[in-house]
Amino acid sequence: ATLDELVLYGPPAGPSITLAYAVGAGLLRDVAERVRFRIWRTPDEMRAGLTSGTMQAVVMPVTAAANLSTRGFGVKLANVMTNGLLYVISTNPEIRSIADLAGREITVPFPNDTPELIFDAVLAHHGLAGKMKVSRSGSPIEAIQLLLSGRIETALVPEPAATAAMIKASTAGKTVHRAIDMQKEWGAVTGLGAIMPQAGLALAPAFLRDHAERITPLLSGLEKATAEVIANPAAAAGHAASALELPWPVIEKSVPFSNLVATPAAQARPEIEALLEAIAKTNAPMIGGKLPGDSLYL
Amino acid sequence: MNALNLTDIGHAFLGRTVLDRITLDIGEGELVALVGPSGCGKSTLLHIAAGLIDPRQGRINRSYARHAVVFQEPRLLPWATARKNIGMALPEGLSSRNRHSRILAAATAAALEEDDLDKYPVQLSGGMKQRTAIARALASEADFLFFDEPFTALDPALRRHMQDIVIRHAGNGKRSGLFITHDMAEAVRTAHRIVVLDRRGNGILGERYIPLRPVERDDRMIFETVQHFMKADPLFAHVEELDERRSA
């Protein structure tokens, strides 16, 4: 079947840079006549989009894909698009490692979600659980607002919010530094290397059924795009800035820290399962109650 | 033929009987004054006759075309000027000139001055409010008028003037009315017949026809009739005497 138009959806975060670049640079011409990129911001949008069939190919958290899959939604994870984009940022130059956090306060967004669960696992690994004060904020925005105003010192935030915070701080004559790379810490916990497969491209069942032949060109296009983005962040930023509605310096500077990849899902399965298992330990409902089986992976 | 027949009317508020077995006919061109002690059910009977309260029992038969009511309180729209309040009674489709002249005629009849017409009810004196309500009823040009103690807030001159209007209203033999009042002289002056309600609403106690046509009565005749009713007629004893009423 021919595909007149394909709309790729992604959140306003790292992996979407790849998508926006791929669309903007015309790397997906083989997939459909017209390819567009749109962002989604809330889980509600995603829920509505998947249900109504307007969303066919969506970048989403791996946990969300797992959840949808275990609920029997027929969604398949095609690839992993980032190997993690969580960082601890701080205004205190003394903070360089997890151990430095002992006895201090850190603010974590999205309670009970991936960032907090990962952070808890890392703390437990270091034997620091309960030895510091973890406070929560609704979204990274509030955490950064508090950080920049000097109310708090340290926060755990994802890219590109971390980069945005640092740029914002420098314009205000402050310094915020990237203190801890959570991907590395996570690698130490799992022993699988600094890989934290946070998000990937998920395909809706209708797409899998009707346009199976388009999957290969789509994935290879994204692979190519990933390589080009990493090689030339400035060019990528030019394509992605307007689509993501983020300033291009933020995008350019966040690319190196976004760990952008395009690993086929099946290939990343051990790392994905390590992540999902860690999450399932404390918050099983987040992935639908149990580990997803083969059906999740394309 | 009668303009209004009330047959065997009975009513109760929240289980308390207020009116019982009231039968009253008002002929065409007749003006009936209804008297009775305060709280005996006169207003309730008037509301029933005007179709504003459904009686618990009894039948009502109206053969006139339109009626208007002057209530015991003025019941003016607080958000409308006196002019608009009077205009309320006019039919919708009137030309504005026609409208204006009918309002003015009614207001003049009620002795309201032109610049009082632009006042809101809160700005009117008690008597002016009452006159506005009267003017509203007059403007409707209804052929049956219900009056519930309509002239209580008026000075003697205005009162006499308004009574004359009522007399003229019923004078041509076509239009009728029911007139509640506590002022015996007023009743004797304006009505063809006085009907006395029982002090507990327990039926009509009795009635008295007044001699002569209303326009033909003079002050002396009115005074003497009132004196006679009050002093000598047992029908009015409980209206006139509080002791009489208490012992009843």
Partner: protein, 269 residues
């Protein structure tokens, strides 16, 4: 005696109103069921699923605690706004100049979404009960204020004069003459304010991650567990309905007994 009989009849009337309220709710549940059948559980779980989820939740003590937390936050916000709003509204009702001065600020409070200032609250009060309570209070305040101000401003001034002529002191005049008139206007508005308080409390918990039903809701949502999310909302609404029908409406019908007297049977509308 009569008063006892009257109260019994009023209680009866109140129960009857609760009963017809339930009837109304079942119509609503039917519509819900139809929507569920059209869109499936992922968008809108059926009423039964939601009820089951709610029941499961309630099997756990912690759910009761969350419910209590959120309700008490919403109620304290409501009470706070009720007190401040009524007092300020009364003052503004008496002095139109103050009302004119404050009116745009009331509009501001009404029209500015909480995300604009929730950070400030988080700074002042931390991410705890106080922030949520304050958000609920800020959401209710303009509503209560306008209701109270309107209640005072539209009072019957003739009664004021009457009370003055009896030599009643200012306080007594206020309590005996003006407050009953104000309450008459304020009560339907308190119903609005209460609903708003619950909604605002849940949203604030969601935005500020401050525990309570809002956070549970956020977790259910990010887990894509729609039945649970709806169950939480169902619980919060049940709490709201319990407060409304247990507190506001009875108080109101107590205060408005005289209105029923004005509408005996047999009187045409």
């Amino acid at each position: 005696m009569t008063s006892l009989a009257e109260r019994a009849s009023r209680t009866g009337q109140f129960l009857w109103s609760g009963w017809s309220g339930l009837a109304g709710l079942s119509v609503f549940a039917a519509v819900w069921q139809v929507a569920h059948e059209a869109y499936g559980s992922f968008i809108l779980p059926s009423p039964l699923e939601t009820l089951t989820a709610a029941q499961t939740l309630l099997g756990d003590v912690s759910a009761w605690q969350l419910l209590l937390t959120t309700s008490s936050r919403a109620l304290s916000g409501f009470a706070l706004a009720g007190v401040i709003g009524t007092v300020a509204g009364c003052i503004a009702g008496f002095h139109p100049a103050i009302l004119r001065l404050v009116q745009p600020q009331i509009t501001l409070m009404l029209g500015v979404p909480p995300i604009a200032w929730i950070v400030l609250l988080m700074i002042w009060f931390g991410t705890g009960s106080a922030t949520v309570t304050m958000t609920a209070a800020v959401a209710c305040l303009p509503i209560v204020f306008l209701g109270a101000a309107e209640g005072i401003a539209s009072r019957d001034r003739l009664l004021d004069d009457m009370a003055l002529s009896l030599g009643m002191g200012q306080v007594r005049r206020f309590v005996r003459i003006i407050v009953p008139q104000m309450l008459n206007r304020l009560f339907p508005i308190l119903v609005m304010a209460l609903g708003t308080a619950f909604k605002a409390a849940v949203m604030a918990e969601l935005l500020a991650n401050a525990g309570g039903i809002g956070e549970a809701l956020a977790v259910s949502r990010s887990n894509l567990d729609v039945a649970n999310a709806l169950a939480w909302i169902l619980l919060s609404v049940s709490a709201l309905l319990a407060v409304e029908y247990g507190l506001i409406q009875p108080t109101r019908s107590e205060l408005e007994a005289w209105r029923h007297a004005a509408r005996p049977w047999g009187v045409k509308r």
